[in-house]
Symmetry: C2
Subunit: 80 residues, 2 copies
């Protein structure tokens, strides 16, 4: 698995976990976020590289802050 794919997977998992915590179906979250349902599925499966504006829409649909959505993130230095 590539490094980029790992990151998309991690974000998709965070979305899925936050959605479950909010008691929303994938379709409900897509509708609340104003995103296509199949696109939302692709994000949760780590198949998409969403833009900042899409990430913001998802956070709003979930009712969480961006910092909360990214609370999984760990500190890493730049590659040598």
């Amino acid at each position: 698995m590539t490094r980029e794919k790992e990151k998309s997977n991690r974000f998709g998992l965070a979305v899925r976990e936050a959605r479950a915590a909010a008691g929303l179906t994938q379709e409900e979250l897509a509708d609340r976020s104003g995103l296509d349902r199949s696109y939302m599925g692709g994000i949760e499966r780590g198949e998409r590289n969403p833009t900042l504006s899409v990430i913001e829409k998802i956070a709003e649909g979930l009712g969480v802050t961006l910092a909360e959505l990214f609370s999984y993130s760990t500190k890493k230095g730049p590659r040598a």
Copy 2:
């Protein structure tokens, strides 16, 4: 100013503040993040809508977590 532009501006400002806190020039941060220097300038000016993979590169270049980079974010509900 549009809603999307406001968000890009807020993110760009957060990058600029974190970069200053790290004592890096814009060019140094671009190099550490593996991004084009003019592209990095556009991000700080809120002219870009970066993808998750670009946002991750910037956080790594800054040596901060995504949650730290987005610590400015506030909770909002979905639009009615």
